[in-house]
Symmetry: C2
DNA sequence: GTCTATATAAAGATAGAC
DNA sequence: GTCTATCTTTATATAGAC
């Protein structure tokens, strides 16, 4: 975020740049690097794809890397806020997290690891993965660890659970809500309740902190 | 599987066709429809991409649809065998399932739903999704329901849990084993144990059946 | 800043030789 | 059955006008 050399301080340029990132974020998040073309990104903005090169001279790869970093940071910030808003108990925090994840485009870590990141140079790919671990998985993990420290839950591998919960909740993105006839958030809460029971969560114990 | 009009009964053709499907299966499973080219599929077989059109006259889409169907059926069969081999208790069955999933290329349902299947005509896409539900998620669901019926676990939404377990276990494909220093299968077992405890699994109760 | 026009590369697909 | 050769389309990317 800090090391990028800005081409201009023109507010019009910055806004245009930001709108491009917004458009690209949704498309890349849903369909991945290879499935999205620069024309897909430019068209909804009324732009020609060539115009994107003014803002991202190095082309698609640079745009994608920047979009992904922004996406992960935004996800992390939203997650932190959702956990915070969930209250002092772990159940509320995890429900908040689930609500946040399900309100956003999926974070498909499998596709990221197996496909998207292989299109980037290894250094950029590594950076993005580290951001995911730091801002998303790490946040979830620390939330669980805090509850563990305060005795709200029993012994458990918080890092493993964080990944498991994320994978579990994100997988709800692919369920056809119209067919199963149930809201994703409600399903997320039920799954979280199973996990909580599985790690001896007790609502009545003091949450500390 | 039954309705395809075979171009030939020549055993050489059938074998070649089968080798193409094998090559394509691994590539498509890991990287998805758009990221794999016909040249990627043909090259490792010492073939030119044009030769694929002999076996799949309708081109990439036909090849992909057939590969995916085969992949799902193979996955379902392997899953059934792994569950069977897991013994009579739910814990063993689910561990068998986890071991199977982790021995195969990831099933990325998010990518399938959000990206891959959109490249197919809706009828073919629908068929593939139904196969996933019938042969993979359905199998897991029935396994849980059987244990529920025999009193091995408490009340639970088996369909929801099946999806949750699949998403949870598949997400292990993206963890960097070299960094966390733990086998994926061991992590899968630990997550399954949490789920089982969360649905009141009791090893000692009679599993019935 | 965005455009048009174009270069270049790579993709899916087809025709016809062998 | 697989090849070579080629067509067409669609990408990314660049150059230069406005």
């Amino acid at each position: 975020m800090a090391s990028r050399a800005k081409l201009s301080v023109n507010p019009r340029a910055e806004e245009s740049r930001s709108r491009i990132l917004d458009s690209a974020e949704g498309l890349f998040a849903h369909r991945g690097f290879d499935s999205v073309t620069l024309r897909d990104i430019a068209a909804p903005l009324g732009l020609r794809h060539a115009s994107l090169y003014y803002h991202f001279p190095a082309g698609k790869e640079e745009l994608f890397a920047e979009v992904m970093e922004r996406n992960i940071r935004r996800h992390g910030a939203g997650l932190a806020a959702a956990i915070e808003a969930g209250g002092t108990r772990l159940r509320g925090k995890l429900r908040g997290a689930a609500g946040w994840f399900l309100s956003q485009a999926p974070i498909d870590l499998i596709r990221m690891a197996e496909s998207d990141l292989k299109a980037l140079d290894p250094k950029a790919a590594r950076k993005l993965m580290e951001l995911v671990y730091e801002l998303i998985l790490g946040r979830l993990q620390r939330t669980i660890e805090d509850s563990r420290a305060s005795g709200e839950v029993g012994p458990c591998d918080a890092g493993l659970l964080a990944g498991g919960i994320l994978g579990m909740v994100e997988s709800l993105h692919s369920v056809p809500v119209a067919i199963v006839g149930r809201e994703r958030y409600a399903m997320g809460c039920e799954l979280i309740d199973v996990i909580l029971k599985g790690i001896d969560y007790e609502e009545d114990r003091d949450a500390g902190g």
